[in-house]
């Protein structure tokens, strides 16, 4: 017969100080664990949101990122004229030949500088990326030296306020608007007209990527085969969504690895703490446990009962950890994504999966920490325990 759960619950809250300290120790570990997951998923979300699976993206063969790619104006024109390209509401093809340039700018409010991606797009190609919304100011006018700045970096770099002038190479550009992109990595970029930016940045007739909306998303594979075999092009075609998730792989994995490394070490410490508490709990209830055994509860059910108690304690800690980690949701931080060699600002994302993973992690700590003390409880020498005062 199993020992009722209420016995464990009452016991846990019978010793509030030691329960609370142990649970907090587990909680902090869980909080760091969730924080690392939130950091990695926030970073990946920023990139994954950038790409749509309805869009196809052409890069030079062999190029792993936009900055190492190059597509000539002629090649871009061949792609623009493809019959498989969808048209927008104004009847024009939904395609943009992007000029992507990384420029080094001083940070605002802290020393040092970092790289920002500047993207020159086909004006009128916004239908291609419907997530882009101007939140203040206005869109840049085609053919002028106006640019718009992603909201997330506007506050992080100098000269990015509306009306300010920002210099690229020998020319000053005017910031006329700030935009958001549903959290996508585009929010860390500066956008302008590619026809104006190209000569200003001295990229003679070379774009970095061509992105277009597919008339029929299912036709991607056929189109990919056709274009990659075309000797005039020398390109590789990828789904935009796929391209952006590949850009997040390297750093996302590093963050996850760091997070797991740190939390595993912390977990070892927290498990030792939990073991201490459970040993004390077992030690203080020697007579009680002996009584249970005498009453006919099997050693296995006693052991199970103590394991459950340990898990309850750890889960309580896990809950505290979730509560501690929740407020970081949405906090914007930034780092350099080495795939694009430029700054990417992104928000921590505490996902339900991360919270559940945190709780499972806590339960696991409880199981491991509770195992030895529970074993000890189950193996008590009966006569000796009952004789003890």
């Amino acid at each position: 017969m199993a020992i009722p759960l209420s016995y464990n619950l009452r016991n846990v809250f019978q010793r509030p100080v030691s329960t609370l300290t142990t649970a907090l120790g587990v909680g902090l570990t869980v909080a760091i664990f969730i924080g690392a997951l939130a950091l990695a998923s926030g970073f990946q979300a920023a990139l994954i949101k950038s790409g749509s699976s309805d869009n196809a993206m052409a890069l030079r063969k062999g190029a792993g990122s936009e900055i190492s790619s190059g597509i000539s104006r002629d090649q871009a024109n061949i792609l623009r004229a493809l019959p498989g390209v969808a048209t927008g509401s104004d009847g024009r093809p939904l395609v943009s030949a992007d000029l992507v340039v990384v420029t080094n700018k001083p940070r605002l409010g802290q020393p040092g500088s970092s790289n920002i991606t500047v993207r020159g797009i086909d004006p009128g190609s916004l239908g291609l990326r419907p997530q882009i919304k101007i939140v203040s100011g206005r869109m840049f006018a085609p053919g002028t030296d106006e640019v718009i700045v992603g909201e997330r970096i506007a506050k992080r770099f100098e000269n990015c306020g509306i009306g300010e002038r920002i210099r690229f190479q020998q020319r000053d550009f005017t910031v006329v608007g700030h935009f958001t992109g549903d959290g996508a990595s585009f929010e860390s970029e500066i956008w302008g007209d590619n026809a104006v930016l190209m000569p200003a940045l001295q990229r003679d007739n070379t774009f970095q990527s061509v992105t277009f909306r597919l008339k029929d998303p299912a036709s991607f594979a056929a189109l990919e085969k056709q274009l990659e075999a075309d000797p005039r092009l020398g390109i590789q075609l990828r789904r935009e969504s796929e391209f952006y998730s590949s850009q997040s792989e390297l750093l996302g994995n590093i963050i996850r690895f760091m997070g797991v490394f740190i939390t595993v070490i912390m977990a070892v410490g927290a498990v030792f703490g939990a073991m201490n508490t459970m040993y004390a709990a077992v030690g203080a209830r020697t007579r009680e446990i002996a009584t249970l055994l005498v009453l006919g509860f099997t050693p296995l059910s006693v052991m199970l009962s103590f394991m459950i108690e340990s898990v309850i304690l750890a889960l309580f800690g896990g809950l505290i950890g979730c509560l501690l980690a929740l407020p970081i949701n949405g906090i914007v931080t930034s780092t350099t994504n080495f795939s694009s060699f430029s700054e990417l600002a992104f928000a921590f994302r505490v996902t339900p999966q991360a919270l559940i993973a945190g709780l499972v992690f806590a339960a696991l700590m409880g199981l491991v920490g509770g195992f030895l003390p529970s074993l000890r409880a189950a193996r008590q020498p009966l006569a000796k325990s009952l004789r003890e005062s």
Partner: protein, 398 residues
């Protein structure tokens, strides 16, 4: 009875609990110092590179090249004694694209003499014939200099990939497309730790010819100065020269140039500090819990001690020292262990950072934190024990 002996006996009274607490403090301090080591390494990365050498790059960003024609004009600037060029190659090992290491195309005639103070050639293929070497250059590099597709590889990189002298490595270019066979003709060892032993150098001429159609664009210019005290003036003069040309330059000391890479990590140091604090707080909880348990269990004993004439102050000190001893022992093992383990692992983020190191200062801080945690965690139990009235203590039954 000796006071310290009494503390020791008390520690041994519940060996398992003392052991578990010591272990958890040890693990926590290991992590604390490992994180501190990351900060140390980032700080060390700022101090990589010489203050007396200058680096010129394109003002827009490092990705943009500069014309080769700048070389003569930079060399003609008063105070500049030698100029060399470098391009980031960005090749991949086609067999394992994840096996990242840095490759630079360099102008051997000037590069190796300028960096002679940072690296030494430890092994090299014998030259096919005797050639005259430029002054200041290691004669062992003769075989490298005579072969167009030769390369010089760092000792650790050789070891890591199990490469042998004379072996040909084929890289796939990401920036410069195509296959790039490179034959290892010399192996270098860094003279100072921060230079790193995991880089590959090959001929810039080869890159220029095969990868840029001979147009010759330069990634960065490295300048050796004859008047290092005027570095700032020289840098300003060079940038002014190219102010209105097709590619404006930004010239700064090599150290400042390297520090620029560290600032790209953004908020990372802050995140590490937050985690460090969380770790310290977590061990505080574990230690405090242990002390509370230890004291509660010995209430009667304290009554006896006080009856025997132990004063409140003595009891207070005894408990405090007991707590501090646990955290000090655990903390010292963890902190010193972190230094030994991490420094011997030689982890250096694929050559992007100097080898991970944990400074003694960080170890000291860690042990200090451990002591502080011990003192804080013992404070309340010690105060309770010292304030205990003999009657209450003796009356209490567990």
């Amino acid at each position: 009875m000796n006071f310290l002996k009494l503390v020791l006996v008390n520690l041994g009274r519940n060996k398992r609990r003392t052991f578990l607490t010591t272990m958890s403090v040890m693990v926590a301090l290991f992590l604390f110092c490992a994180l501190g080591g990351v900060l140390d390494t980032l700080n060390a990365a700022i101090e990589v590179g010489s203050e007396t050498r200058l680096v010129s790059r394109n003002a827009i960003s490092l990705i943009f090249p500069m014309p080769l024609s700048y070389r003569e004009r930079i060399a003609a600037t008063p105070g500049v004694s030698n100029v060399t060029i470098q391009n980031w190659f960005g090749g991949q090992d086609p067999k394992d694209p994840r096996n990242f290491f840095a490759q630079f195309a360099v102008d051997g005639k000037t590069f190796f003499p300028i960096y002679a103070s940072d690296m030494e050639i430890v092994d090299a293929s014998p030259p096919q014939m005797q050639v005259a070497m430029p002054s200041g250059m290691d004669p062992k590099l003769a075989s490298y200099m005579m072969e167009r597709t030769a390369c010089v590889v760092g000792e650790k990189l050789m070891l890591k990939n199990k490469w042998k002298l004379g072996q040909t490595i084929t890289l796939a270019g990401t920036i410069y497309p195509g296959e790039w066979p490179l034959t290892i003709r010399a192996v270098y060892r860094a003279k100072n730790k921060s230079f790193g032993d995991e880089t590959m150098f090959f001929h810039w001429d080869y890159l220029s010819e095969k990868g840029m159609g001979g147009s010759g664009s330069v990634g960065v210019y490295v300048l050796q100065l004859s008047a290092p005290d005027q570095a700032a003036d020289i840098a300003r003069k060079i940038d002014a020269t190219f102010q209105n040309s097709s590619a404006a330059t930004r010239t700064e000391s090599e150290r400042a140039f390297q520090a620029g890479f560290v600032s790209m990590y953004g908020n990372l140091p802050f995140v590490i500090r937050v985690i460090g604090l969380a770790v310290a707080f977590a061990i505080l909880l574990v230690a405090a819990n242990t002390m509370v348990m230890a004291i509660r269990e010995r209430t009667n004993e304290f009554g006896v001690l006080k009856t025997l004439g132990f004063e409140d102050g003595t009891v207070f000190r005894m408990v405090l020292i007991e707590a501090a001893a646990i955290t000090l022992i655990g903390g010292s093992i963890g902190a010193i262990g972190a230094k030994l383990l991490i420094e011997n692992s030689g982890f250096n983020a694929g050559g992007m950072l100097p080898p991970m190191s944990v400074h003694w200062r960080t170890v000291g801080t860690g042990i200090g934190v451990a002591l502080l945690v011990g003192a804080v965690s013992g404070l309340i139990p010690a105060w309770q024990a010292s304030k205990l009235r003999i009657v209450d203590a003796l009356r209490r039954v567990n």
